[in-house]
Amino acid sequence: MSTATTATPVAAGRKPATMAQALNRALRDSLAEDPSVHLFGEDIGTLGGVFRITDGLAKEFGDSRCTDTPLAEAGILGTAVGMAMYGMRPVVEMQFDAFAYPAFEQLVSHVAKMRNRTRGAMPLPITIRVPYGGGIGGVEHHSDASEAYYTHTPGLHVVTPATVADAYGLLRASIASDDPVIFLEPKRLYWSKADWSADAPEEVAPIGRAVVRRTGRSATLITYGPSLPVCLEAAEAAVQEGWDLEVVDLRSLVPFDDETVSASVRRTGRAVVVHEASGFGGVGAEIAARVTERCFHHLEAPVLRVAGFDIPYPPPMLERHHLPGVDRILDAVGRLQWEEA
């Protein structure tokens, strides 16, 4: 019977920090190292962002490195495109998931396509930070899990951290990437805490690599971002039912780490994909489909999905019924046709 592990190497000088602090530190270190890094967004300067992720950065680096923009998301992303065309490395903040939608045309028709349409002459190293998902009691339009819109758009990288260390590592890697990256920040993990140091970010979380957060032999839970802690909790609870669950944290949705995921499912023979976005056409569908394509003869049961319902995100008082919880995950694990094993 295995226990929860984290794949991040132990580094010197680790201290307790929240994910919000790690993100702040990643932005600060990127600003300090690379003068072409510029932060743009609503309320990110003087206020430090509504989630305080940019706290203190305007003060330290000046208004022109951490800029309060007019209130217009297409304008924010569109001007970021122009800045990147001139060789800068813009990092934009969309204040909430649903408030990134006004920038959708700029994103799909320009950001995702510019390198390709210019045969590589005009790469766009833009990082788009999007606080996403629910579980924080937000009123409507403040809790969308919008990742599937991005993962289906070729030309974008899509990453999402689930741990404090990855928040730092992946954000550094995203800003350093020469391609546009949608950096999805799980709102409800902003205040999650862990011992962590800012050392060796590249080793911590390279874009495109999933990580096994818990090894197990009975079945694999495949998840990312806000659902990782829920899956780890479910895995602990499953021990009592006699299931030894492996938990894979994808971290990077595009590119997708088929190797790590398939290896795990081949080993366990069963899998459940967990995310809080609506199930229909969600990222879980892609994962279930590709895992099945690759591991068909190793599967003892169909890959199941535990996802949000196919409904608009619920009001705060009802969100717990929508979000995948431990019970719903265990329920799905229970449906993995054990009797036939």
């Binding site: 609503e42 309320d43 003087t46 007019p70 209130l71 408030f99 009123v139 403040h142 196919d310 009001p315």
Partner: protein, 366 residues
């Protein structure tokens, strides 16, 4: 006449009458205030005092955990109330998230108006009942709705006007532009009321626009722009009433910019000390909309201490009733999550609903 004039060059609107006055329009404290209808002023005063009390009560409810969040309109009550008073019952109001007070002043049950912010559902009232559209959170998105509704009413021959509210920050969104342009081209009966309260959360107006005023944006659409002191309820009401009348008579839309100030933080979750000085807030207290009206009414002997006390007591009763009702736990049925997604739930939703029902039953039994 050259070819330019004949063919491309529009039957040109003269821009001069579209331009707002250089100074915000004021009534209270000016000589014209003497002619204002006493009954109207009394109504306004009552509504302002109740509105202020409502804001205070709602903010208090956030502290007691009874509201998830509250974006207060304290300091902006003149605009909120005037917007409601400027409309006929058949007209429509399109509020933003900050404008629950306008909805309440128009007749929406305050508990229902607060549903969104309490978190038991999204829109708590039936929009058709008082002709108040759902409170809109995505900024400026409600403006094209107002235009479409006004356009539809006009096509049907109904003399209905739509009044849409938006903040200074919201004017930077593309939807603001598109809505004003559609309204102007279609000459739709819409009044756009911009409450310029100086900030979009932490971002001051100077980082939002370089325009002479937000009202000057009207010219670019070929519609009149009006600038008004947003803490002078009589002035706001007069400007809106005139714009509503013009819209109703087929004169097309108007853009009104009301200069006001948000006395509270953006919401209870915001820390306004991070981006503005107390001194600025203090300075605005002198120009508080209730004080401004009170001074003008006292000058005309339309208000005395007894009336002030009565009005405050009335507001207190309203607040107590609201508090009491909000202290009742909301009755929620999780199955409602599936009830209104479509007219008929899809087979997929029926499956999911069955799953939730089973969970709830299991929960109830354990």
């Amino acid at each position: 006449m050259t070819v330019l004039d004949q063919h491309v060059w529009q039957p040109r609107t003269d821009p001069a009458p579209l331009l707002p006055d250089p100074e915000p329009y004021r009534l209270l404290g000016t000589p014209e205030a003497g002619a204002l209808d006493a009954g109207l002023l009394t109504t306004m005063y009552g509504q302002l005092v109740r509105g202020r009390r409502y804001n205070r009560q709602a903010t208090a409810l956030t502290k007691q955990g009874r509201l998830a969040v509250y974006p207060s309109s304290t300091g902006q009550e003149a605009c909120e109330v005037a917007a409601a008073l400027a409309l006929e019952p058949r007209d429509w109001l399109f509020p933003s998230y900050r404008d629950t007070l306008a909805a309440v002043a128009r007749g929406v049950d305050p508990v229902e108006a607060l549903t969104l912010l309490r978190g038991d559902w999204h829109t708590g009232y039936d929009p058709r009942e008082h002709r108040v559209a759902p409170l809109s959170t995505p900024l400026a998105t409600q403006l094209p709705h107002a235009v479409g509704l006004a356009h539809a009413a006009r096509l049907k021959g109904d003399d209905v006007v739509a009044l849409a509210m938006v903040g200074d920050g919201g004017t930077s969104e593309g939807d603001f532009h598109e809505a004003l342009n559609f309204a102007a081209v279609w000459r739709s009966p819409v009044v756009f009321l911009v409450q310029n309260n100086g900030f979009a959360i932490s971002v001051p107006l100077a980082k939002q626009t370089a325009a002479p005023s937000l009202a000057h944006k009207a010219v670019g659409y070929g519609i009149p722009g009006r600038l008004v002191d947003g803490n002078d309820i009589a002035a706001v009401h007069a400007v809106l009433t005139e714009a509503v009348a013009r819209a109703r008579e087929g004169g097309g839309p108007t853009l009104v910019e009301a200069i006001t100030y948000r006395m509270d933080a953006h919401t209870n979750a915001d820390d306004a000390t991070r981006y503005r000085e107390d001194a600025e807030v203090e300075a605005w207290r002198e120009h508080d909309p209730i004080a401004v009206l009170e001074r003008a009414m006292r000058e005309r002997d339309l208000l005395d201490d007894a009336m002030v006390r009565d009005t405050e007591q009335d507001a207190e009763r309203m607040a107590a009733a609201l508090r009491e009702r909000m202290n009742e736990d909301a009755v929620l049925d999780p199955m409602d999550l599936f009830a209104h997604v479509y007219a008929e739930p899809t087979p997929q939703l029926r499956e999911q609903a069955a799953m939730l029902r089973a969970e709830l039953e299991a929960e109830a039994q354990s």
